[in-house]
């Protein structure tokens, strides 16, 4: 389950994981000591610390506050779009460009097979190291990214390929060129395209579902969210600085926004919560990716039986009905 941490010595702890970091550090030290002095028997003591750490981790992640979920959702080692594509699909063939201005690397997209079935897969990619993060603009798409997605979704519609979108963005890029080239129009058209295509459209929010930049891909027949991912109209920091006039009030804002998968399920904004391994998807990448794959396949199987016109009508109805359910007091 926790292969990443064990095998790669993962040490990127979040601030609330400090007590855990201490225990795991101690266990690590003890083992190092054991390796240095052959006669010292540290195994049982280290194992006890491991067990303690395991319990602590489970407890911590059982009741993550909304703000902590934001931190987990943004964890740099959380599996990203590219990881899911590599793990779950075969024959992935990236398709580039909006045929108008550029290719936006913040958005990945292309043909691929899922269990042998050809599909179109599109998602935000944040990058995994300094170089790729800059190349991919930290997953913040420009109009070209949305226009590429529109092109691919329309192509999928023509060739009867289901579309799978993987959502992971802080939001659309707030830049000069992006505005000049019609960021708003590109997002609006992307949402419109989501509503038009006569094929199954499935979205999984794998990390951050940041506002309009996310909804542009997530106006789907089915929307699933990983257990610790977030989906919100505005970032907690942004909300705090506007409504509290203090960006440090992000904890309060995260609470108030109800941006967790659990609350969004209650509100019927999402359809399904995909469980994450103990300690979050970044501590068990392959387990998380496997769960996502299972969920996508199940949704696809269900939607695959429907006619194109019904898929369009259902999608529409789903969003028209939204908002009839509030959170209980």
């Amino acid at each position: 389950m926790r292969e990443t941490r064990m095998s790669q010595g993962m040490t990127q702890y979040l601030d609330f994981e400090k007590p855990l970091a201490e225990i795991e550090g101690k266990a690590e030290e003890l083992r190092a000591l054991g390796r240095a002095n052959e006669e010292m028997d540290v195994a049982s003591e280290a194992a006890a610390l491991d067990a303690k750490a395991e319990t602590m981790l489970t407890d911590l992640y059982k009741n993550l506050t909304p703000w902590r979920k934001c931190q987990v959702a943004r964890h740099p080692e959380r599996p990203h779009c590219r990881d899911y594509i590599d793990a779950l699909f075969t024959e992935f063939t990236p398709l580039a460009g909006d045929r108008n201005f550029a290719d936006d690397l913040a958005v990945m997209g292309g043909l691929a097979r899922l269990d042998g079935t050809p599909v179109m897969v599109i998602g935000h990619e944040k990058g995994s190291d300094t170089k790729s993060r800059i190349e991919r603009n930290f997953g913040m798409a420009r109009p070209e990214g949305y226009r590429k997605a529109i092109r691919l979704m329309q192509m999928a519609g023509r060739f009867n390929l289901p579309v799978i979108t993987l959502i992971d963005t802080t939001g659309a890029y707030p830049g000069k060129g992006a505005e000049e080239r019609g960021q708003s129009e590109a997002i609006a058209r992307s949402t419109e395209t989501c509503l038009q295509i006569p094929v199954p459209l499935i979205s999984v929010i794998i990390g951050e579902g940041g506002s309009g930049g996310a909804v542009a891909f997530a106006t789907a027949n089915r929307v699933a969210m990983l257990e610790h991912s977030i989906y919100s109209v505005i970032s907690p920091e942004g909300c705090a600085s506007i409504l509290w006039k203090d960006s440090e009030k992000m904890r309060e804002a995260a609470e108030a926004l109800h941006l967790t998968a659990q609350d969004l399920k209650t509100l019927a904004v999402i359809d399904e919560i995909i469980p994450e391994p103990s300690g979050g998807a970044h501590r068990g990448k392959s387990a998380a990716m496997e769960s996502v794959g299972k969920s996508i396949k199940a949704m696809l199987k269900e939607l695959g039986k429907k006619k194109g016109a019904d898929l369009v009508a259902d999608r529409r109805q789903k969003f028209l009905k939204m908002g009839s359910k509030g959170l209980a007091a």
């Binding site: 659309a172 830049g175 000069k176 019609g182 509503l195 106006t219 109209v233 804002a253």
Partner: protein, 330 residues
């Protein structure tokens, strides 16, 4: 010669029936600082008579000036759930709502109406920036859907005046969901073959711009209106450079291909009449400076030029083909 009673008089009436304001009230233009006589400003639709600066105008005042005779019927908007998230920042959301309702005298941030402009039956929706920044929540979403449904039912074009800081944060994700919901409203209009004209007014930003405000058949903006997805301050913080003058203003968007036209508010009504009538295949509207309609319909060269396939007035397949006698107005 009933064109005077049908067309000109209602406009005269509308000028006098507008909200009475004390004669001695003056208002300062926030752009040029000129002290403007309140009544003069109101008659000029809140556009500074000195510098042309467009100040905020409420949907109700706009509609009074837009519709023939200042007469319109409000379209009922389905009531959404109140405070679905029990949202509380420094204030409770219901308290913020009550304050907004008290200061504006309106129920919510959008007004939907049906009526006629230059004898052209339309549905209009206008966002109220003075009501919580015009923010798009479930009510605004419902209002746009109600406007589209009414337009489809009556086979009329929809003219939407946008003005908003963005989505209503107090409704959290449900405000974000108005982006797809309002997009469905636009699709309904397009499927019914009805014109959807967006008039973007200051300011139109965020999720509002990135949904229904950018999906019109025709985009017209008021001069100098701020129209953007991300606000200039956010962009300056992100790219750490000063933005050029006029960035994200209406004229800038026109230059960058996002708008069809930038039109002063005082000329907007005439322009909307002209455009909607052409899109609907109707003959030109009767104007105050044209001869009486009986004569116009037969020989008007403009009508002949804009109806290349048929005789002017012969496009009877389209709804409301000609200026019809004034219906009894409520």
């Amino acid at each position: 010669m009933n064109w005077i009673t049908n067309y000109v008089r209602p406009r005269i009436n509308s000028i006098f029936s507008r909200r009475e304001t004390p004669e001695n009230l003056w208002q300062k233009c926030d752009e040029c600082g000129t002290m403007l006589f309140h009544r003069e400003l109101t008659e000029n639709l809140n556009v500074c008579t000195n510098c042309g600066h467009h100040m905020n105008i409420t949907p109700r005042d706009r509609f009074k000036a837009l519709f023939d005779g200042g007469v319109f019927n409000e379209v009922k908007v389905p009531e959404p759930l109140a405070d679905p998230l029990q949202f509380r920042d420094q204030k409770r959301y219901p308290d913020r709502m009550r304050t907004a309702q008290k200061t504006t005298g309106e129920k919510e941030a959008m007004l939907v109406a049906s009526g006629e402009i230059g004898r052209t039956p339309i549905i209009a929706a206008a966002q109220d920036f003075s009501f919580m920044g015009g923010s798009m929540g479930m009510y605004v979403g419902n209002a746009i859907l109600a406007a589209a449904e009414e337009a489809v039912k009556l086979k009329r074009p929809l003219i939407l005046f946008s003005a908003a800081g963005g989505a209503r944060m107090q409704e959290g994700i449900l405000s974000l969901m108005q982006m797809p919901r309002t997009t469905v409203a636009v699709q309904m209009l397009k499927e019914a073959g009805l014109p959807y004209i967006v008039v973007l007014t200051h300011p139109t930003t965020g999720g509002v711009t990135a949904s229904y405000a950018m999906l019109g058949d025709v985009h017209i903006a008021e001069p100098n209106a701020l129209i953007c997805f991300a606000g200039p301050r956010v962009i300056e913080q992100t790219i750490r450079e000063k933005l050029p003058d006029g960035f994200q203003r209406a004229e800038y968007l026109l230059d960058h291909g996002m708008l069809d036209r930038v039109t002063p508010r005082t000329e907007m009504r005439e322009e909307l009449i002209t455009i909607t009538r052409m899109l609907l295949g109707m003959p030109p509207a009767v104007r105050g400076d044209l001869p009486a309609p009986e004569k116009t319909e037969k020989v008007d060269p403009v009508a002949a030029a804009t109806a290349p396939v048929a005789e002017p007035g012969a496009s009877a397949a389209k709804p409301a083909p000609a200026p019809t006698p004034q219906k009894p107005l409520k």
